[in-house]
């Protein structure tokens, strides 16, 4: 086994339940992540799947510290980042980047593509910013003059490529992709997945891929973690998981995917 990039132990996270808050008492807590433990090795492509409300996005956001865990431990490259404050996190943030689900709301509509990709570079004091932005555009297969465009001038697939370009521009070690193809057409989905696969190979990235679409995960990820109501119910090599799902829930998830074939008894 190669070097471990993420070490997660007994990770718990709760939110305040403001819906059921009484006026004078503090709000009750809802535990969203209930003690998760797993490792991600360098170079792994890990799928995180589960139904809606299973906590997969929350887990992702906790891993890149966009959310603060309540207890447990997250170690990134041996460094405990569970309770680091924003300032201490900043130099590390260069190394773990995130690609968001909806590129229309994660790209600032009032900025050009150049300024969007350049801002993390400036923040981390990179030199030769213009060149790096152009290289990032090359890597995601977009023409260099796209840097003058605004997000609304691009198609969904192109926007998602900008999201990817921004994430890889800072030369990260780890990328978290949260449902990045669910808003795309099948054809652009295939393009984005192929691109991601190629980048992982070429740049030696480690990738966590959050998705509700098991067909995509099957295609892309070597290992898969299945979440159900904030708990890991199965973590397994993807091939094994599909061939022989250990839990009934995983089996149900797999069987619920409508395959494009003529089996109308499925329903």
């Amino acid at each position: 086994m190669s070097e471990t990039i993420y070490e997660i132990r007994d990770l718990r996270l709760s939110f305040k339940d403001m819906v059921h808050k009484s006026i004078f008492k503090p709000a009750p807590e809802i535990e969203v992540l209930k003690g998760l433990s797993f490792d991600i090795a360098k170079g792994d492509v890990v799928g995180i799947v589960g139904g809606s409300g299973s906590g997969k996005s929350t887990l992702g956001r906790a891993m890149v510290r966009l959310l603060d865990p309540s207890s447990g431990m997250i170690r990134f490259q041996g460094c405990d980042i569970t309770h680091l404050n924003q300032e201490a996190l900043r130099p590390l943030r260069r190394k773990f980047q995130m690609i968001f689900q909806d590129p229309m709301s994660s790209l600032n509509p009032r900025r050009t593509v150049f300024s969007i990709i350049a801002s993390p570079l400036r923040l981390h004091n990179f030199d030769r910013v213009t060149l790096r932005v152009e290289e990032a555009l090359d890597m995601v297969g977009l023409p260099r003059d796209f840097k003058y465009r605004y997000p609304h001038e691009l198609s969904g697939g192109q926007r998602q490529r900008i999201g990817i370009a921004r994430a890889i521009a800072t030369e990260p070690e780890f990328i978290l992709a949260d449902e990045i193809v669910s808003g795309l057409d099948v054809s652009s989905q295939a393009q984005v997945l192929n691109l991601l696969e190629q980048l992982v190979r070429d740049l030696g990235l480690t990738l966590a891929f959050i998705s509700h679409d098991l067909s995509v995960v099957r295609r892309l990820c070597q290992r898969t973690i299945v979440l159900y109501q904030g708990e890991i119910i199965e973590a397994q090599q993807t091939a094994k998981l599909f061939a022989n799902p250990a839990s009934a829930y995983t089996r149900e998830l797999i069987e619920a995917i409508p395959l494009p074939n003529l089996d109308q008894d499925w329903i």
Binding site: D185, S188, D213, A256, P258, L259, P260, N261
Partner: protein, 288 residues
């Protein structure tokens, strides 16, 4: 005898064509799928039938015949009455389709009372029955809930109940399961299919998911940029799609049973060909 017939329907956004000579027919009890990428105009067909096209888009030609009546020949009021009585919609996003400040029960009975002139008690009785039919437990309680108190799957069940409430003869389902996760999607598809079979409704099913089409539809239309590229039965489509674009669309859909198969985006030459077909049609129109 087909219940809905669309002949050479065209629609324009300013000068730009949105639908190009779309013709289709749906029989009573039949499920017809409309597939294509985003922007192909698949939702627009449903909206044209229901008369809910966005203001900027105008139907500029062709006819829509619903149960033997040409809808465009009617006065708006008459048209609305016919559409209201004979058709219903299952929308994509149940949260935006429901009024957040009204209880869901009232939103189901509303249509029965206001448009079809049922008595209130009668409508409530029917709504309760229907909630049972769409497998909602404790329907009395759910009727009094607000939309935000229910899960996505529950909300979609409610809208299915609302759609079937007045026993319409045609239902247009516009991506009804896109917002749901797979296990819930399966339940909802099964439910729509069951209800459709029970009431013998004609169903126009808009989706981008070929997997879903293969499970619920009997025939389908493949659209590209507002033009029908292929119209065929589900059997033929999934054994041997005739148009290269259909074939490419099928190949680009990921299948978990074939993980090593390359995930090919739709090849440029196929797109070129589809575009050329559209351009040829446009040229012909400009000459007339």
């Amino acid at each position: 005898m087909s219940f809905l017939t669309i002949n050479n329907l065209t629609a324009h956004f300013g000068k730009r064509p949105v639908l190009r000579d779309v013709s289709l027919s749906v029989q009573t009890g039949e499920v017809c799928g409309l597939v294509g990428e985003s922007g192909a105009g698949k939702s627009m067909i449903g909206k044209a039938v229901l008369g809910t096209l966005p203001l900027a888009i105008a139907a500029t030609g062709g006819e829509i015949i619903l149960d033997g009546v040409d809808l465009q020949s009617l006065m708006p009021k008459q048209r609305r009455q016919i559409i209201g009585a004979k058709t219903a919609l299952i929308p994509q996003d149940p949260l935006t389709a429901l009024n957040p400040s009204r209880r869901v029960g009232a939103q189901i009975t509303n249509r029965l009372v206001d448009i079809l002139g049922w008595r209130k008690a009668e409508a409530e009785h029917r709504a309760l029955d229907l909630l049972g039919e769409v497998q909602i437990e404790d329907p009395e309680r759910v009727m009094l809930c607000y939309p935000h108190e229910l899960s996505g799957g529950m909300r979609q069940r409610l809208l299915i109940a609302a759609a079937f409430a007045a026993e319409p003869q045609l239902i247009i389902a516009d991506e009804p399961t896109t917002a749901l996760d797979v296990t819930v999607q399966k339940q909802i598809l099964r439910l729509i299919k069951e209800m459709q079979a029970r009431y013998g409704t004609a169903l126009l099913f808009v989706t981008h998911d070929l997997g879903v089409v293969s499970k619920v539809c009997q025939k389908l239309l493949v659209l590209y940029d507002g033009m029908v590229l292929e119209q065929t039965s589900v059997e033929d489509f999934f054994t041997e799609p005739s148009h290269p674009y259909s074939k490419a669309l099928l190949e680009t859909t990921p299948k978990y049973t074939d993980p090593t198969g390359s995930l090919t985006p739709i090849p440029q030459e196929v797109l070129e060909r589809a575009r050329a077909q559209v351009a040829a049609y446009d040229r012909m129109q400009n000459h007339v």
